[in-house]
């Protein structure tokens, strides 16, 4: 197969998606835009250029909270998953309560956060954490519980310590599952951050994207609302891409999910 042909084969799926996106944007520009409700794509692009300083400052604030919330979820989620995997009794006792994190509406706990931590980075990061921790717990637990029994036998045969079983067998075995959970958590962390900013975000020079969205909406600057929303999605995408990169590095050599398609 010639080199040119290889490139063509690799490129046509994303090219098709690009064309579809252009068509959709075209329809948006011509037919869907409504004054005060849905700005034209040109208006959104324009405001992204004009107010790029403010938008970037907001992006930085939101990114900080999203990263802190996500890292907290990742670390504590894996830790809790490991703890729950240790004993059936512990699992049966506590696992149902972790679902609480999945279902509690942030709106309900926001006033408490306001009182305990005051508005700003801590409270918003906590929102991101609450919203994104459960998938990590759940996928870690599931991964740890599905270790190959023959390998467990092997470890037992050679008298492996529980520490060796955990770190040399169960945790690496669970990594692909953990990464699935982390991918979900990344997106949720961004959502949680923006929603947190709607509720307990700090106004002012370094207001986050969520605050900017509400603020711009109040002042009737709908193009800016959409610009901020777009940037927030790009943040989610960037975090997702980072996790995929990490997965490739850690799992690339050995897990089917990272192997080339045959």
């Amino acid at each position: 197969m010639t080199h040119a042909r290889k490139i063509l084969i690799a490129l046509w799926p994303p090219a098709l998606v690009l064309i579809a996106a252009i068509v959709v944007i075209g329809i948006w520009a011509k037919m869907l835009a409504e004054p005060f409700m849905l700005p034209t794509p040109q208006a959104v692009a324009q405001v992204m250029v004009e107010r790029r300083g403010e938008l970037l400052a907001s992006l930085w604030t939101t990114t900080q909270a999203a990263l802190i919330g996500f890292l907290a979820s990742a670390i504590s989620g894996v830790a809790v998953g490991m703890a729950l995997s240790a004993s059936t009794l512990v699992r049966r006792a506590f696992y149902p309560y972790t679902v609480f994190f999945q279902t509690v509406p942030i709106v309900a706990i926001a006033p408490l956060l306001m009182i305990w931590c005051g508005p700003g980075l801590t409270a918003v990061s906590l929102c991101a954490f609450v919203v994104s921790v459960f998938p990590v717990i759940s996928s870690t637990l599931s991964g740890l519980l599905s270790t190959d029994p023959a390998l467990e036998d092997l470890f037992r045969l050679y008298g492996a310590s529980p520490w060796a079983r955990q770190w040399k067998l169960k945790l690496p075995y669970a990594l692909p599952s953990i990464f699935t959970g982390l991918r979900v958590a990344a997106g949720l962390a961004v959502i949680g951050t923006v929603v947190g900013e709607f509720l307990v975000g700090l106004f002012g020079q370094e207001e986050g994207l969520g605050v900017r969205i509400v603020s711009a909406k109040k002042q009737g600057r709908t193009a800016e609302v959409f610009a901020a929303v777009l940037i927030a999605s790009l943040l989610g995408l960037a975090m997702f891409a980072c996790i995929n990169l990490a997965a490739k590095l850690l799992l690339g050599r050995w897990h089917a999910s990272e192997q080339e398609q045959r």
Binding site: L154, R156, L157, A164, K168, L169, R253
Partner: protein, 256 residues
Amino acid sequence: MCPARIESFRYYGSFDMRIAGLQKVFDSNVVAIDHLSLEIQPGEFVAILGPSGCGKSTLLRIIAGLEKPTAGTIEINREKIAYVFQDAHLLPWRNVLQNAVLPLELMRTNRSDRTAAAREALEQVGLVDAVEQYPAQLSGGMKMRVSLARALVTKPDFLLLDEPFAALDEINRQKLDEQLRQLWTRHRMTVIFVTHSTAEATFLANRAIVLSTRPGRIVADLPIDLPEDRRSDVRSSPKFAEITHQIYEALEKGGA
């Protein structure tokens, strides 16, 4: 049903393993093994055959200490046991060398010693060129050889194998049979090899034990009177066919 007694003591020569009155009943009230007694001398190569579900894998696992019998006694020195499973069961995130070295790593042997031992074991199964590769890149036969090397790395006195080559194609299987037999002639560890294949049992072992259908009882305990040094040509000898047939008849008698 009397509780099981498991005695473990230092090998002092007359037998390597003795089982008396062994019984295993699973939670579902399935009686896998019923009153089985067996004695194995050091250095024997024993093949265990039987129909599916007769308890031969369970027997092997009890010998290895992975299961506890419901009744009966088993006397064995478990200090140097190695086990080879039906599938290679390698750790996919470790390369060939790191997989082979695993038992010594778990037993806390120091790094340089264990690396040397792993390389040696891999050499013995002919994989010295593949040490950097990962299981995802290996064929079935190569994976099984890594599994074998992993079992050999501790220089075991007792090697237990549970139908290890059953998933391989005929050519690979016979090659590995030969390799195993050579390793045995070299190291003279006691081997218990569970298999479905009468030909494989005849080629590899000097004693074949045939179990009946569930619950497994010993139907036949046949010596295999073939030369020590066995190459692939021994498979076409008339003695080979005769012994294979004997084992086959014993299987039929046991209800296979």
